[in-house]
Symmetry: D3
Subunit: 160 residues, 6 copies
């Protein structure tokens, strides 16, 4: 069985992320959305929230699981007996950083392959940070994230 | 009458910004420099200062006005009965983020058009953040910003 | 009255081109699709054909006209008493060449402004050269070009 | 069984191509190197030669096959009952064109997924066109292509 | 005697940095690694530590010196009677920022030339920030930095 | 004595090229403009013309020489006992190809260093191909090339 890890901060998960994970299931028997605990930036949602929002978002996809992880991605990949990392590509700036990370990961664990999926054109421009910014300004995020994520965002930014 | 909004943080306004606003008046009857209140980063100048510096900088251009705004850009555009957003393009990295924002804004309000102006080559490399960094290190910013902005920057970073 | 020139080879015109021209009419009173005669490459359709295909494609847009031109773009812009050049941006590689051409044109005629429109995400990836290549291989171009252009392409590449 | 198509002109096949095909076998049960017959440019080696050079290059990889194809890539993918297209990414300029082609192919056949592999850093900079140019100038191509390809190139450019 | 300044934060120095400095000695009689004191971000190592780590890293290169500096880079360049700034290029995003800084520096001091060296392909993907992130997660940084830097990183992130 | 080679097609030489060569003399004792004979494309000016135009353009710079070369660049560099290749960078697309060529050349001859100079902002957007296209359409090239090159271009494209 071929298993792939789709890692990220998922702060929060967007329709673009779900699309990438779903399309990865065409290539792999199982796809694990791996929500990274550690981050240099303070996330909007904490690890438990981010994991819960992601898990609810893919509850109808039997071959997609959601796990959180702490520490080095390549260690998590080995621990899960996966052998591929899946990444979505949105823009050239993404591309360069991703290529660098793939090179570092290959240097660390040569047998793990990083696989990039191209964006779906009508979701490709959505990023978690744009979604957070929109929500902060009380803009409508309904076409960018699942319903329960939109509610969580609204709640987070409600006027006090 | 065609009115365009030229939004940004303008922290502080540079000669490059003024050039973009001025050139936009060739295309539109009125151009509003819209100074964004809300930002994820702490600006060097507060909203009142940024607005005042921008207003003074374009005091001789009758068809350029300066307003500050809070909240979502597209809401402000509609409120001002404008129908175009003007952006200057400096570099490829700008370009990608701008294209994403234009796509998000079009999704939110399809009838608003985002218009990009190319940089004037001898001003194109100046950004507010480079100007701030130069001023912080007591470098000469005279060829990058209007005189009153240079004075304000000097004052902000004067040794105490 | 503000008039803009939208220049190109239009070999052939695509739905992406029509979208750019249409959106330009929100900013300008009249938009002239300017089909360039001279080219370093041999086009698939000759100037008369390219102009006819473009004209038919925008026959229902009263404020879009189609003209062909020979010689320097900036000369044509002045001749038409226009003061803006409209360009669609698709990708970073486009962007750089376009920025260079805008700089050259501004050096030649400073009062002409080049205006870039961002791509509509679901049309943004279509280029005339991809459309020609698809047609050459008898692929289905129906979602990328107007019906009469699809017929013209099919006719051009029909097995003999 | 999961089968992937790795299409290209392979004029000629390089060590970078072989590396991509080999790494793709970690993700798929079978990888078909698909040598494109039709091209807008005149290749250095004809279709029979390009296919033979590629076939010899992967003769020791039991799960990599080499086939030539004519016509539309997505038609060939369906004919081979594959469901993925594999592409190597070398640089940003590649990236953009590849993203466009992936979008076109998805529009034509939504169930086919395009998968990008990142370059191996010490082979990533080699392209067939650089190899051809080197060989044309009698440079040493030994570290960029398999031995039999180096001999074929030398033979092609030998002084007459 | 021709002297060049190779400026940066060096937080910490990597094998990629050492490679650039070493290759610069082929072009210049003396190369000064200039560790910048002032920074908008809080560095992992303080100025004294960063300078010491860099100095130890190049102790066997007689024509490379390490100095720290505070204030404007161009002032330091003049103070050291150097006339060139050396920068390594890793990626397109680097490239754009570097080009902007080179333009600003040339505007400030026209006689100082900025010189870019291309990355060595097997070190080119390593950046200080990736190294710090790896070390924070207790990953193996041995192939990216000198031994004493690896020890310093391990010490910095050891579990308390 | 440090000698650098500045290679190119120079079809024809522009003010941007001359600026790069001149600035390289600040770093090297002698700069050789190396006009490449062999090219995959048919140049507008033949090798003798391109060399003569370049030579006249730098006749007042005692430390810049112009030579033509045939064959591999690295062979010419060694033959001239130079140890550096100078390249101007204009745009991101240049950058990527140049980085690839630098990697190939380093693989062929490790001791030769490739050095990139950043563009002067008011010349940076001029390329030989844009100049040729302008001249072909009888545009004014006076601000982009030396006077004698403008005359040669005019002569080449004069109506017959």
């Amino acid at each position: 069985m071929k298993r792939a890890i789709y890692p990220g901060t998922f702060d929060p998960i967007t329709l673009g992320h779900i699309d990438v994970a779903h399309r990865a299931t065409r290539l792999f028997d199982e796809v694990i959305i791996a929500v990274a605990a550690a981050s240099s930036k303070t996330p909007l949602f904490d690890l438990v929230e981010r994991t819960a929002l992601a898990r609810h978002a893919v509850r109808d996809y039997p071959r997609i699981r959601v796990l959180s992880f702490d520490g080095l991605l390549v260690d998590f990949v080995r621990e899960q007996q996966a052998h591929a990392i899946v990444r979505g590509l949105r823009a050239v700036s993404d591309f360069e950083f991703e290529i660098q990370m793939a090179a570092v990961n290959r240097r660390l664990v040569p047998e793990i392959e990083t696989v990039f999926l191209s964006p779906t054109e009508d979701l490709g421009f959505v990023s978690s940070s744009i979604v957070r910014e929109l929500a902060r300004l009380h803009g409508n995020v309904a076409t960018f994230v699942p319903k329960h994520v939109a509610i969580a965002l609204k709640d987070r930014f409600k006027p006090t």
